[in-house]
């Protein structure tokens, strides 16, 4: 298995405060990997550091090439789609414009409209609302829009920050099923940060546990789910 993303000794800072203390992990091509951890452990910071949205040191390699020093937009153009916390919806633009924006850095403009149709097939509700201002969508619909927008990039790797945040359990289940399908069928590798550890471990194949800016445990999702300390801290049984 080839390594798609490797992160080595990552340290990140917000002003004077250090949020990550030498964090290292790998993500295999085609895998669905999850980062678990409590509030403030550094999960979001890790995703932000990968896209160079926070001051950081350490080596980050994507497809064997270093990402350090590249601007956020250029990192995205390499095929890393980031769905940020809070979804990052372009609220004043229409649903369809949001999808077009997802593909804005692509050169193959001809394939874009068929991709939009594909997204509508994945998420039928978006088709119903395609001329509506995206800000008027419900939370769950916006989350689907955010995932669809990220997929419009035709990414190699998708970074998802708390996709379940603020959603009803049924919708969360739906969303994760779609993510699993995307991972398998479209061969998109996924790095997902979740507080809902149970669900994340169900669909992920690999998992890392972060505590106060360090990786404290790693392994197959199955193993992690069976680990007693993880069960107590994150799964609650």
């Amino acid at each position: 298995m080839t390594i798609l993303l490797s992160v080595h000794d990552l340290r990140a800072y917000y002003g004077q405060v250090q949020a990550l203390h030498g964090l290292s992990f790998d993500l295999n091509e085609g895998s669905m990997t999850t980062l678990l951890g409590a509030n403030g452990a550094g999960k979001t910071t890790t995703l932000r550091a990968i896209c160079n949205m926070v001051r950081s040191t350490g080596a980050i390699q994507f497809e064997g090439k270093p990402l350090n020093g590249k601007s956020t937009e250029n990192i995205v153009r390499l095929g890393i789609a980031h769905v940020p916390q809070g979804r990052g919806t372009f609220t004043t633009l229409t649903v369809e414009e949001n999808l077009q924006l997802g593909a804005i850095s692509r050169k193959d403009t001809k394939a874009i409209s068929s991709d939009i149709e594909r997204m509508y097939a994945h998420f039928p509700v978006l088709k119903q609302r395609h001329t509506q201002q995206a800000g008027t969508l419900s939370g769950g619909e916006q989350q689907m829009l955010a995932v669809a927008r990220a997929l419009m990039l035709r990414p190699r790797l998708m970074l998802l920050d708390e996709p379940s945040f603020g959603l009803a359990p049924l919708i969360v289940r739906d969303l994760f099923n779609i993510l699993g399908k995307i991972n398998r069928e479209d061969k998109v590798s996924i790095l997902v940060v979740e507080q809902n550890a149970q669900l994340a471990l169900e669909i992920a194949d690999k998992a890392y546990v972060i505590e106060t800016g360090r990786i404290v445990m790693s392994g197959n999702a199955q193993e992690i789910a069976n680990d007693e300390s993880v069960r107590k801290s994150y799964l609650g049984y």
């Binding site: 940020p84 372009f90 924006l101 850095s105």
Partner: protein, 292 residues
């Protein structure tokens, strides 16, 4: 009644000036989310460049085109050199930067071209339009160009990828970077476009107000008022606002006794404030939903 119609017509004619300026203001507001106080001065400088080119014997339309290109590039250069370093500075510091730019451009123009009033030609002629004394062919041409510009901008923002990228970068810069848009260049592009639109405004206005370094002071005040009245987020609103301010101002001057030239502006502004109190986002602006 005839007086009324005539005054409205005259108002629309002057309103076209404001509309043009307001359009440039809204353009840059869309791109950078700030009101550029130096916009009028930049437009004035562009107009001087056009004048200078014509003095050197370049025909009107070539001078016009060259000026647009020069202004576009100059707008980008000004952003890259002067304002990019301030991108992370507080908003009010940026406003101070606009005021500094204002002072510099005004002063340099005065030094190069001095403060004597200069005639500026019009391609539309200045005979009365359809026999009306209040509106000339130039003013009709000006209205036509303004509306044409508006349509062109609408098409650009609505139907081109770069227009969409610019809108996205202005509305949500961080999300825009996350879909791979170079937001910093979008801002520069906004400056370039606003500068070029300002040049068109200046060239259209100059035959009416005459060319001199302070020609834009009054126009800019009205232009801001028009832009805010129309709602700063809407180019169409800006143009509409421009015409409304022009008509407002004329009717106030005609029908309210004791209002001299000096009080026209304050009263027009007061009316705008009243409109804003009723509709805080301007006539055409959309409400931004704020989350805590």
């Amino acid at each position: 009644m005839e007086l009324f119609i005539n005054q409205v017509l005259a108002g629309i004619a002057t309103g076209a000036i404001y509309a043009c300026m307001a359009l440039a203001i809204v353009m840059i507001f869309q791109a950078i989310d700030h009101l550029n106080f130096a916009q009028g001065e930049m437009a004035m400088f562009s107009t001087f460049i056009a004048w200078q080119l014509m003095q050197w014997g370049i025909p009107y339309w070539w001078a016009f085109l060259l000026t647009l290109i020069i202004s576009f590039v100059a707008g980008i250069v000004i952003e890259r050199v002067l304002f990019k370093p301030l991108a992370k500075a507080p908003v009010l510091t940026n406003v101070a930067g606009f005021i500094a730019l204002f002072a510099i451009v005004n002063s340099v123009a005065g030094l190069i071209w001095d403060f004597t009033i200069k005639q500026f030609p019009t391609p539309f002629g200045s005979s009365p339009f359809l026999g009306s004394q209040l509106i000339s062919t130039h003013q009709v041409g000006m209205i036509g160009v303004t509306l044409g510009l508006l349509i062109a901008l609408f098409l650009f923002f609505r139907f081109t990828r770069i227009g969409l990228a610019m809108r996205a970068a202005a509305a949500m810069p961080e999300s825009a970077r996350l879909v791979g848009i170079n937001t910093s260049w979008m801002v520069a592009l906004g400056w370039g476009m606003a500068s070029a639109i300002g040049a068109i405004a200046g060239i259209l206005i100059a035959p009416v107000v005459f060319l001199e370094p302070n020609m834009m002071l009054g126009v800019l005040l009205y232009g801001f008022a028009a832009a805010v009245l129309g709602g700063l987020t809407s180019p169409l609103g800006a143009v509409l606002g421009g015409f409304l301010v022009g008509v407002f101002e004329n009717l106030v001057g005609t029908y309210i006794p004791g209002v001299g030239n000096e009080l026209k502006l304050p009263i027009a502004l007061a009316l705008i404030v009243i409109v804003l109190v009723v509709k805080p986002n301007g006539l055409m602006g959309h409400t931004v939903v704020k989350r805590v």
